[in-house]
């Protein structure tokens, strides 16, 4: 029964995109961008990155509009033919799977470091996968509603904790603006863009919209809000820890919150809040990407989504355990980001052109 409440509204799509973007990146972003740019101007890089992502997202929206009610996996083979389509779908599925396992692994690393030292990582990951799997069974509607529940919680707690760190914020650490020109800013764009990975879920989500035309608005809102999150993070972290202090820390945002205590408030220390919302965000990113890949497999092989999930979760578990160290994990993250950029920066425009060309040819024959 597909009733009114099972369609995704534009707001829901925006919220899902936001939740997918906000993932592991929020803890590492200050380090990765500053490492590339070496100036405090990285917040400009992030804004530019967000702008680029909006453009890329628009292409996907245009593409999706040509095939209403269809996911990427369904329409790609209509554009490129069956075999190439299946191949491209398989790559996208694999990509989503890797993102899901990357997020899960990052979760287990951070949780193991700050919350549960000594707990084996399988004990951290398995319940998480199970809870995630339970949600995914509910389909896109349930996913979107979950994102809608946790986004306000995340937003309020995040900006509150960031605001509390104002005590150790020093505007001097952010100056001078553009002191070394624009070059470092441009260098910072690449890692900045990597943290915006998540817009590609639109390839799947748009199919569930009643009014896919409004997806463009969702992309804009869905990118601007993470931009606000990221800019706040980077500004507060650099303002407190300085450019030089940021580069050495594995999880700089955690260190920002750990760098101050406010006695007198009930909770003197606030890292638990950050961790809680971060785990929630990882959860939403994980479920969305996992769903995207499970849906792909289901649509490609024509199997039941639920049985696909049952097989997929163990695979993701194995993949998440593959990196041997944090260094390898970070590398995986970088590789994933680059893949995403190539895959979703280049593929959709190509497909769009191809699809238009095909349509044009058809029209030509008809007329």
């Amino acid at each position: 029964m597909k009733d009114e409440n099972d369609y995704l509204t534009p707001v829901q799509v925006a919220v899902v995109i936001i939740n997918t973007m906000l993932g592991a990146g929020i803890l590492t972003l200050p380090r990765t961008t500053v490492n590339a740019a070496h100036t405090p101007d990285v917040w400009i890089s992030i804004m530019l990155g967000g702008f680029i992502i909006i453009l890329l997202g628009m292409v996907i929206v245009r593409l999706g509009l040509r095939y209403r009610g269809q996911t990427f996996y369904q329409y790609v083979s209509r554009i490129t033919g069956r075999w190439i389509g299946a191949f491209l779908s398989a790559i996208v599925i694999l990509y989503f799977m890797l993102v899901a396992s990357y997020e899960v692994r990052a979760l287990s690393e951070v949780t193991g470091l700050y919350l549960l030292e000594g707990t084996p990582s399988w004990a951290i990951i398995m319940p998480f996968l199970w809870v995630g799997g339970y949600l995914i069974r509910g389909g896109a509607g349930a996913l979107a509603r979950l994102c809608e529940v946790i986004l306000p919680i995340t937003g309020i707690i995040f900006f509150l904790t960031m605001f509390l760190s104002f005590g150790i914020f020093d505007i001097h650490n952010l100056r001078p603006v553009l002191g070394l020109g624009v070059t470092p800013v441009l260098k910072g764009i690449e890692p900045a863009i990597l943290s915006f990975i998540g817009f590609e879920t639109l390839l799947v989500l748009q199919a569930f919209m009643k009014t896919p035309e409004k997806a463009a608005k969702s992309v804009i809102v869905g990118t601007l809000i993470p931009t606000a999150f990221y800019v706040t993070t980077v500004v507060m972290v650099i303002g407190a820890l300085t450019v030089d202090g940021v580069v050495t820390r594995t999880w700089p945002t955690m260190d920002l919150i750990r760098s101050f205590e406010l006695s007198g408030l009930i909770f003197e220390r606030f890292e638990s809040f950050l961790l809680v919302i971060w785990i929630m965000q990882i959860y939403s990113t994980f479920t969305v990407t996992c769903y995207a890949s499970a849906l792909g497999i289901a649509q490609l092989t024509g199997r039941n989504l639920k049985s696909v999930i049952n097989v997929l979760l163990p695979v993701i578990y194995v993949l998440s355990m593959a990196p041997h160290s944090l260094k390898e994990l970070n590398k995986l993250g970088d590789v994933l980001g680059l893949t995403a950029l190539c895959l979703f920066g280049l593929l959709p425009p190509l497909l769009l052109i191809l699809s238009k060309w095909k349509a044009g040819k058809k029209d030509g024959i008809v007329s």
Binding site: L113, L115, L241, T248
Partner: protein, 396 residues
């Protein structure tokens, strides 16, 4: 959706978790919480010596002695008051070695309750140790450890650091006292902004020189007095600033929150005091080719809070005169500070570098490597302007 497969899965998972569960669980009362640590030059404590004589092997070269201040849980319990008063709420225990982490883990074989560092508030490093070792080496463990928060403060003690973690006042915990004293910045200029581990990290990474609060101890009493100067290039302590010089730096940076200026009347030699209500300094760096100079403009407002001059009631100095006297005094402090920085230690301890970084980012790229020596050759011009805006509850 089938009911039973789900139920089965729930049961299996719960079962697994409960069977193996609670890996990280450790009740709070089964832990030793330490709140402060003092790092001294390695010298074995008496207990350690005896332990070693009985056969405890120790291959380390005894570079560092770490003294932990552990909260003893019985102190805070709601037991009867007389017993509480007689008991110290903390206990200090020391270990020696050349790896800080090794020393920490040594306690596992010496105490039944494992020590945890989540609540560590302060590290006191003895001057001698800081002179001989790079700070980033000394503190490396604290940065890597996931228990210890980067909000923990760092101070230097010119004497033995472990002495600063002692007190004669029953019921008080010295580490907390040290942290509490850092809040007194609105009362005195001798307390500089507290440097936490995370702030220190920034200094150490960027290679700038900086100052750390110096704390003195005598018979269980402690006092913040002056500061230790850490040279950015070597990351070692190169000397101290006395209280006057420290005040000079505070005036230069305009970073004081409150405090006083004491001066003497030129004629009578009587004391007078100016309570600082606000303090502001604007530092402008001027680049003339490679030649740098600084213009500092210091402004302050405050009240005349004490004047030992009631004998000659009709010949009081005017407000202008008073201001001049105080300004003179401040200039004296600043001169001392600049002299010490530029001529004796030849380091920039007052963060002039960041002004160059902000105002001349290109130039900074070329000078930052050797900033301390560039700084010691850059002239500093300053102006001091004090304004007495009120006289307290008296009319003048």
């Amino acid at each position: 959706m089938g009911l039973y497969p789900n139920l089965k899965r729930v049961v299996v998972i719960l079962w697994l978790l409960l069977l193996t569960g609670c890996w990280s669980s450790n009740e709070i009362e089964d832990l030793s919480v330490y709140v402060g640590i003092a790092l001294d030059k390695g010298r074995e404590t008496a207990e350690e010596q005896q332990l070693r004589e009985q056969g405890a092997t120790d291959e380390s070269m005894d570079r560092v002695t770490a003294t932990l201040q552990i909260i003893s849980s019985k102190s805070s319990s709601s037991g009867d008051q007389s017993a509480k008063a007689n008991q110290k709420p903390f206990m200090n225990t020391a270990g020696t070695g050349d790896s800080v982490f090794e020393i920490f883990r040594e306690f596992a074989s010496r105490r039944d309750l494992p020590v945890i560092g989540h609540h560590m508030k302060i590290v006191v490093i003895s001057g001698g140790l800081a002179r001989a070792n790079r700070l980033d080496d000394l503190l490396d463990f604290f940065y890597r450890d996931n228990d210890i928060r980067p909000s923990c403060y760092v101070v230097v003690s010119r004497g033995e650091a472990r002495k600063t973690l002692e007190t004669k006042v029953p019921g008080s915990i010295p580490a907390f006292r040290l942290v509490g004293m850092m809040d007194n910045r609105n009362r005195t200029l001798e307390v500089i902004p507290a440097v936490s581990l995370s702030k220190l990290q920034g200094y150490l990474q960027s290679g700038t020189s900086f100052i750390l609060q110096n704390v003195l101890s005598a018979q269980g009493e402690i006092k913040f007095s002056g500061a230790a100067v850490i040279k950015g290039k070597t990351k070692k302590l190169i000397g101290y600033l006395n209280e006057g010089e420290l005040k000079g730096i505070v005036w230069l940076k305009g970073s004081g929150k409150g405090g006083l200026v004491k001066a003497y009347d030129r004629d009578s030699g009587r004391a007078m005091a100016y309570e600082i209500k606000s303090m502001k300094s604007t530092i402008k760096s001027r680049a003339d080719g490679e030649k740098l100079s600084f213009d500092v403009n210091i402004e302050s407002e405050g009240r005349l809070i004490e004047l030992w001059n009631h004998a000659n009631l009709f010949n009081r100095p005017s407000t202008k005169q008073l201001e001049a006297i105080f300004e003179q005094k401040v200039r004296l402090l600043i001169d001392q500070a600049i002299k010490k920085m530029q001529q004796q230690y030849r380091v920039d301890a007052a963060d002039f570098g960041s002004h160059v970084r902000i105002e001349h980012p290109r130039l900074w790229q070329s000078v930052k490597k050797d900033w301390d020596s560039v700084f010691s050759q850059s002239p500093i011009h300053y102006k001091v302007q004090l304004k007495i805006t009120e006289f307290g509850s008296l009319i003048n």
